[in-house]
């Protein structure tokens, strides 16, 4: 890595890039010196911050304000000037329900189905994924041959794109796919996994865990490796049983990391869209429709683009995420201080 900055580098390619780079630096230096003379050295940090903050402003902070504005206006126009103010009507539509437990009784039944599905999805996805990540991290933390290889294996799916992940599993789970071949060879019947609502939800959760657990395993493994080894040596000398070591040493010391992983995976799970959308398309019917898919479809994919309703739903989602993120930051801060 450091060789690239080495001017005596023998590699002609890196010589060329560093030559280009220094030419570019010299070229930009002319106006930059002008700027520095104009605003003074003291104010140069603002100049360096400017591009980044401009991007954040244009694509995060301004949109955040517009999001709220969209949610209190109606019509199907995209530009703000053409949208009539409707007050909290959009929120009224979203929350207009006979019974919150029964999405069919709601004016926006898809929104509530999305909420319901997201709750179910998040609950099972997060608990099972944290459990399996923890188990995998514990196993990988043992003195095992080929540990680097096994760690890499569990991490591999994390790098795959959600579309690729979904297509891999769609191919396995399809009617004449590998899994049904296995089932029939064991004397069972073929199952149409994406026609049965419960199976579709099960596989949405399973595939999502498959794709992401490697990431959380890695964080937990880092936490496990930070536990002082002498604690384990002392336990071994006292011939402490494995289960006791786990409950009395490992888990209590891993607890801060576990909390962070829990909240982090919660934040991600609530926003799940990509792999489930490609895998099931939200179906059958709306059995695996998650809240982000509702927002996406309301704004972009439906015949009538309802930006106001989509924004109102995303503001609701934003509030939930805001609370979750505050909890996460507090936990991270506490585990850093501890």
């Amino acid at each position: 890595m450091a060789a690239a900055s080495d001017h005596q580098s023998l590699d002609p390619a890196s010589g060329l890039t560093s030559g280009l780079w220094s030419a570019l630096v010299r070229l930009i230096d002319v106006p930059m010196r002008g700027v520095q003379a104009l605003i003074g050295q003291r104010n140069m940090p603002y100049m360096f911050l400017l591009p980044n903050l401009a991007f954040f402003g244009l694509f995060v902070f301004v949109p955040l304000v517009i999001d709220v504005w969209f949610s209190v206006t109606g019509g199907s126009a995209l530009f703000l000037g053409q949208r009539p103010y409707v007050g909290n009507q959009q929120y009224g539509y979203l929350f207009d329900c006979g019974s919150y437990l029964n999405p069919s009784s709601c004016r926006e039944d898809h929104f509530w189905r999305g909420v319901q599905n997201t709750l179910v999805f998040t609950f099972f996805q997060v608990t099972m994924m944290v459990l399996f990540s923890l188990l995998t991290a514990l196993v990988l933390n043992m003195k095992i041959r080929g540990r680097g290889f096994f760690r890499a294996v569990f991490f591999f799916p994390v790098l795959l794109s959600p579309v690729v992940v979904a297509l891999i599993w769609k191919w396995i789970l399809q009617r004449d796919g590998l899994l049904n071949a296995g089932l029939t060879s064991l004397g069972g019947q073929k199952i149409l996994f994406f026609v049965d609502p419960s199976w579709a939800m099960f596989w949405a959760i399973f595939v999502s865990i498959w794709a992401h657990m490697g990431f959380y395993t890695l964080i937990l493994l880092a936490g496990l490796q930070a536990i002082p080894a002498d604690l384990y040596e002392a336990a071994e000398m006292d011939a402490t049983p494995v289960s006791r070591v786990l409950w009395r040493i490992t888990l209590p010391l891993l607890w801060p990391n576990l909390l962070v992983v829990l909240v982090l995976s919660l934040i991600k799970a609530v926003q799940t869209f990509d792999e489930v959308f490609v895998l099931t398309g939200g179906g059958p019917g709306s059995a695996t429709l998650l809240i982000v898919q509702y927002i996406y479809e309301t704004a972009f994919a439906n015949q009538v683009q309802n930006f106001g309703l989509a924004s109102a739903a995303s503001v609701v989602l934003g509030v939930v995420l805001f609370v979750l993120t505050l909890i996460q930051l507090a936990l991270t801060q506490r585990s850093k201080n501890a």
Partner: protein
């Protein structure tokens, strides 16, 4: 020494505990579950359309053996035929009519005989249908999607590296009024993912006239809080004397950034570059919302559109999926160490 004993020895010379056996069992199962589906995808992608429709599927891509028989224009599929006298013979099939098939002996092509279809077994051989890979390159816009994805990934990564390193430089080297406010603002963006501001970012991008342009995909995610903090953490560890010395030599602040801090931060920049490439290559929701014309599709959007068609052409879809995961797999093989340490250090994906 028995085999079990030899295998169960550890480096320390101690015998394995039952937990070790359980651990290895778990890990081997994990290898099957994590790698198996990808291997199955890769194997399937070399099957012909006909053998993809077979049930139960074969593990390896098999297809029927064919041979050229004199007197026939096309190569004939080969079968093992059980003749009435009980002997078996290798024959080519000329045509099939209902339950009867007209078969011919390749060595005696002028005397075709009729055989009941139950009396013949296809001869199969291992064959890789590479046309699954070459056809989409010619017939579909696959190369276009690939080009778009490469363009987005490279340009976005360059912009990300540049603007985030500039911000990290300002936040790590200088003390200035408003620094904390800027930090809080940047951390704050962590709480506002694209899922929350999908519609208004679409408005911003439309106002800039970028709809259906690849810049609409590149720009909104270019500034990232993860990037700023990853780089800032690294830059804070750089020695300050170097910077002071450069100022003595009348270096401008820009030169300090570009000539001193940036080259010294290469390890951190490399980690951010890898992350950025992965993010951009795999990005889905935002491009899906903003790219509506197929000529501006990225690979991921193209793949999704292709799988959503009424008649899914699995033989091409599988091959394109394999092509899509190759770059990421290369990153995995060569740069996995950077990514894993990056995640372990920052806890961010």
């Amino acid at each position: 020494m028995s085999v079990v004993e030899a295998l169960s020895r550890t480096r320390g010379g101690k015998r394995l505990h039952w937990t070790d056996y359980a651990a290895y069992g778990y890990l081997v199962l994990g290898v099957f579950l994590m790698f198996g589906p990808v291997v199955w995808l890769a194997l399937s992608s070399f099957k012909t359309q006909a053998s993809l429709l077979e049930f139960p599927p074969t593990l390896l891509p098999m297809s029927q053996k064919e041979a050229v028989v004199s007197g026939y224009d096309k190569p004939l599929p080969l079968f093992t035929v059980t003749l009435p006298d009980g002997s078996k013979k290798l024959m080519g099939q000329v045509r099939r009519v209902g339950l009867q098939a007209q078969m011919v002996d390749p060595n005696a092509p002028d005397k075709p005989i009729n055989v009941a279809i139950g009396q013949r077994q296809p001869i199969r051989e291992l064959a890789f249908a590479t046309s699954n890979y070459t056809d989409p390159l010619r017939q579909f816009a696959f190369t276009r999607y690939l080009g778009n994805s490469v363009f987005v990934t490279i340009v976005a990564t360059i912009i990300t590296l540049l603007i985030n390193s500039m911000a990290a430089f300002a936040l790590s080297i200088y003390e200035f009024p408003g620094r904390n406010a800027a930090m809080v603002g940047i951390i704050g963006t962590l709480m506002i993912p694209i899922t929350v501001i999908l519609v208004p970012v679409y408005l911003v991008v439309t106002s800039l006239g970028l709809i259906n342009s690849l810049w609409a995909v590149i720009l909104p995610g270019a500034a990232t809080p993860t990037g700023v903090f990853l780089l800032r953490q690294y830059m804070m560890t750089l020695p300050r004397d170097l910077i002071e010395a450069a100022r003595m030599d009348k270096a401008s602040e820009w030169q300090i950034y570009a000539r001193i801090v940036l080259p010294l931060s290469l390890p951190a920049l490399a980690v951010l570059a890898i992350f950025s490439v992965m993010w951009r290559w795999n990005e889905f929701l935002w491009p899906l919302a903003v790219l509506t014309k197929s000529e501006s599709y990225t690979l991921q959007i193209g793949l999704n559109a292709f799988q959503g068609e009424l008649q899914v052409q699995w033989q091409y879809l599988l091959a394109m999926t394999v092509l899509t995961l190759i770059p990421v797999s290369l990153v995995f093989v060569f740069l996995q160490r950077f990514i894993t340490t990056g995640i372990a250090n920052t806890g961010l994906k």
